[in-house]
């Protein structure tokens, strides 16, 4: 039978019974002791990561959270493998400021590398401790014992279960780093496509998301935002909203405005009523969208030079130059941001789909002027976020509403237009490239200049407050100017071997439009530009684009993915586009340190309408040791589809009055009918580190599409997205 209400107890079932405190090694310890793998180096106590229950089940604690990328399944696989437990006997607890290690943000495709490495080592050490104890009790040598499904067996056939052993051990001890995890040759669970643990609930309608939580006595909240950034609330007729039966409170703090009601639809109606009567003093006008890139370039910047290679410059040769642009792009989560908050006895609990509950807690403490110790943030899943969307802002919104009604949990959900108009977008970027080729057609000089805002205004990224609601409170806390950093140069340094190169990054602190981390940060724009330009250069000298790349690339793993995708897509060197059909390649190693991906796209150009179709795409992927092959393929495919959508359709629309993308009609994304057929080939490297792959395919996919268009038509589109209008202009 389906439980009628999701209670707090059920939502955190099993957690309450565990010990809620554990020792996190203070940072002063970091310098001492061995360097431990991944996040274990910062949180060195075994029971911070793994505990074994008397029932023989393992509970694994991770600071990383499920964003729909399947990470909790992959991490459970790693733990089960090292512990020799069935996957079903591993429980995961993630992203809870009261229970889990602080592992920063779940971002940057790092979870397998950091949390996975920590869990692997911690699990191996826990297993070794249990084996050692079992050996004593069974009077056997540790190396003669075998373990299967949590049962330790001695050569004479005697057995002991983990459950029986665990009472005799104390896992509150520092990891030694002296236990070696299993050899990959013995893997039974890692490397297989374990089914996602969260899907049965999601396909049957069980409460799976923070949006689905229903706490006893819960109220429903909505917020009312101004027409544009920086506006202040001059007056509001609260009576109109309060006269609606079921409205519990109108909450105002300066220019922050929200409403709480007994029922959700009442909160929505009250939001409409308040929107109609609110009088705003409008903030500064936005830049002219037609001149946005010139505007950004005109702003003052902090400049840094990176990736310099120098060797004697040749005389002669041919110079080439091109400029590319990428617009503001929305995360556009399918589910608008949501949070639950409850104030009780001076303490605040927030359930949130934030990517970083610890940083969020600090930011909330600042905004609410509360001690951090009085706040607990607990992760609960949201819709796929793809970076820093409205999740953290919604958490503060919910907290501000709940603070007005102590003892009553408040569920706050943004409406669709809240999310589109107020989320921090992926920044607009200008990329300018210049290269010189020697008479043999080799690039001997590569100059790259890019102009970009920061790609991160996440909580704790500046000395100010990153949470939207804080900017509008009666004592506003604003975002402080971001520091030079922030991911704009991600993948700005090409992996190719050029004798001379220089990358000049114009970091623009001023943000006329709100921006932050969107999947890949700068890598999507940089790879699009680098790989488009490589293609332009290859055509300029009449070389095949793949042969041209390989001629500049020594890294054998990079070469392997390019050669593999060429074979997979049956690439024919020298094949010419016919004005309608074309193929293009894009390649990158994500962050120059993670997964290698090469993508080929096939495009069809409908010349009269300017509409592009991508019937088919292929990808070859090297993510080192593969943890979950189908999960990896799913991430690569999903990245390709999202990139295709960004590349063909997506651009945040605005004018000087405000943001104009407010719904799915003003911000269209790729529909089912346009999604290409995708074939992915994985190159497993069992002896290499497992690498993050969640963001690896987006840049290469964008470049492959743009290059396929150029191959088909002989014309190049250098400004994204590749809309019908731009296609028609390019075709003349």
């Amino acid at each position: 039978m389906r439980a009628p209400m999701l209670t707090r107890r059920r939502f955190s079932k099993g957690l309450g019974g565990l010990v809620l405190t554990f020792s996190l090694a203070p940072s002063s310890l970091r310098a001492q002791g061995a360097l431990l793998p991944g996040g274990l180096n910062n949180n060195r106590t075994l029971d911070a990561w793994i505990r074994i229950g008397l029932n023989g089940y393992a509970t694994v604690f991770t600071g990383k959270v499920e964003l729909g990328q399947g990470i909790l399944t992959a991490l459970a696989q790693i733990a089960a493998e090292e512990l020799d437990l069935p996957l079903a006997r591993v429980r995961m607890v993630s992203g809870d400021t009261a229970q889990t290690p602080n592992e920063g943000f779940t971002a940057g495709s790092l979870s397998v590398e950091t949390s996975g490495a920590a869990i692997r080592q911690a699990a191996a050490e826990v297993r070794a401790i249990l084996i050692e104890l079992a050996a004593k009790r069974l009077n056997a040598e540790p190396r003669t014992l075998t373990v299967r499904d949590g049962v330790v067996t001695a050569p004479d056939g005697q057995t002991l279960t983990y459950g029986a052993l665990v009472a005799g051990v104390n896992l509150r001890r520092e990891a030694s780093g002296h236990v070696s995890p299993k050899s990959q040759a013995h893997y039974q669970i890692v490397g297989r496509s374990a089914p996602r643990r969260d899907l049965p609930a999601k396909v049957t309608g069980a409460a799976a998301f923070v949006h689905d939580m229903r706490l006893p006595g819960m109220l429903h909240g909505r917020v009312i935002r101004p027409p544009r950034y920086g506006s202040t609330l001059e007056s509001i007729d609260e009576a109109a909203a309060k006269s609606i039966p079921g409205v519990v409170a109108v909450v105002r703090d300066g220019s922050f405005l929200g409403v709480v009601a007994e029922r959700e639809e009442t909160a929505v109606a009250a939001r409409d009523a308040l929107s109609r009567t609110a009088r705003w003093k409008l903030g500064p006008r936005l830049p002219d969208p037609g001149g946005i890139f010139e505007h950004l370039k005109s702003l003052s910047s902090i400049d840094e030079v990176i990736g310099v290679k120098e060797s004697p410059v040749l005389a002669g040769g041919r110079m080439f130059r091109a400029t590319y642009t990428k617009p503001y792009t929305a995360h556009a989560s399918i589910g608008p941001s949501c949070a639950l908050a409850e104030f009780r006895d001076g303490r605040l609990t927030v359930w949130t789909h934030s990517q970083g509950v610890f940083a969020l807690r600090q930011e909330l403490a600042k905004a609410l002027r509360m001690p951090m110790t009085a706040i607990r943030c607990i992760h609960a899943e949201g819709a796929g976020c793809f970076g820093h969307n409205g999740a953290d802002d919604a958490a503060l919104d919910a907290a501000l509403l709940a603070r007005a009604l102590p003892g009553r949990p408040v569920r706050l959900q943004w409406m669709r237009d809240d999310e589109f108009a107020w989320e921090p977008y992926g920044p607009a970027v200008v990329m300018q490239l210049q290269a010189a080729l020697d008479p043999e057609g080799r690039i001997y000089n590569w100059q790259y200049e890019l102009w970009s805002n920061t790609h991160s205004t996440r909580p704790q990224s500046t000395a100010g407050n990153s949470l939207l609601g804080a900017w509008y409170m009666s004592e506003p806390q604003n975002l402080a100017p971001p520091q030079l950093a922030g991911g704009g140069v991600r993948n700005a340094i090409p992996l190719y071997d050029f004798a001379n190169q220089r990358i000049l990054h114009h970091f623009i602190p001023e943000m006329p439009i709100r921006v932050s981390a969107l999947r890949t940060l700068g890598a999507y724009a940089n790879v699009f530009a680098i790989e488009s330009f490589m293609d332009e250069l290859s055509y300029a000298i009449g070389a095949d684009p793949i042969a041209f790349r390989l001629a500049h690339l020594k890294d054998p793993r990079a070469r392997a993915v390019i050669e593999s995708v060429a074979a997979l897509a049956r690439w024919r060197p020298g094949q010419r586009g016919d004005g309608i059909n074309g193929r293009g390649l894009g390649f990158a190693r994500y962050k120059n340190s993670q997964t290698y991906v090469a993508v080929v796209a096939r495009i069809e150009v409908d010349r009269p309408s300017g509409l592009l179709r991508i019937p088919e795409m292929w990808a070859a992927v090297d993510a080192g040791l593969i943890i979950n092959p189908d999960g990896l393929v799913n991430q690569i495919e999903g990245g390709i589809v999202q990139s295709a959508s960004w590349t063909l359709y997506e651009e945040v629309r605005f004018d000087q009055e405000g943001i104009r993308s407010r719904d799915w009609l003003s911000y269209p994304v790729m529909p089912m009918t346009e999604v290409p057929k995708i074939t992915v080939e994985l190159i497993n490297r069992p002896h290499e580190q497992p690498l993050g792959a969640g963001e690896a395919s987006l840049g290469p996919a964008a470049a492959a599409i743009a290059n396929a268009f150029a191959h088909a038509t002989g014309r190049r589109i250098r400004s994204l997205p590749m809309t019908a209008e731009r296609v028609k202009t390019a075709l003349g």
Binding site: R2, L199, A332, W664, T673
Partner: protein
């Protein structure tokens, strides 16, 4: 005045006003959280449910206009112990990443299979063109629906 609704084979009662969107009543009054709020404007399909077997957007139908029609939500298709072939196929083919759009996808597919029991891939894509997915699992969804057709054919 209370309104009675027929939901997944049961009579359920709500005190919501007649103009209340069905979505809020399903989620908040009946704890049927499968249908999701995505846009409130019928553009995304995350709230798709069946009304007398036909797919509707629960955000755009009010409880006052439903009358005696039978409402079917994803909870009414199957349970974790006894999955509907569509649900089984979505799990088997990992046809989800975040899963927020999944209930709506499954219900739109249920509607398609009622009218077109043996759809082509093109039929599936067109039938689900109004169901948006941001994670990019579209091709897996198509394969899962075609797999469900196979599973149903065998049983």
């Amino acid at each position: 005045m209370a309104i009675n609704l027929r939901v997944n084979g049961q009579i359920r009662r709500t005190n919501a006003k007649p103009e209340t969107p069905l979505l809020y009543v399903l989620r908040n009054d009946f704890a049927l959280t499968g249908a999701k709020f995505g846009c409130g404007t019928s553009d995304c399909g995350a709230c798709t449910v069946l009304l007398d077997g036909e797919a509707v957007r629960a955000c755009a139908v009010t409880v006052g206009e439903i009358g005696n029609a039978e409402i079917t939500t994803v909870e009414g298709l199957g349970t974790p112990d006894k999955l509907h072939p569509l649900q089984q196929a979505f799990i088997d083919l990992q046809a989800a990443q975040c899963g927020y759009c999944t209930s709506g996808m499954i219900m739109a597919a249920r509607n398609l299979l009622r009218h077109t029991p043996r759809p082509t891939e093109k039929d599936v894509r067109e039938a689900l063109a109004g169901n948006l997915c941001r994670c990019g699992v579209h091709n897996r969804v198509v394969r899962a629906i075609l797999r469900a057709v196979e599973l149903s054919g065998r049983s």
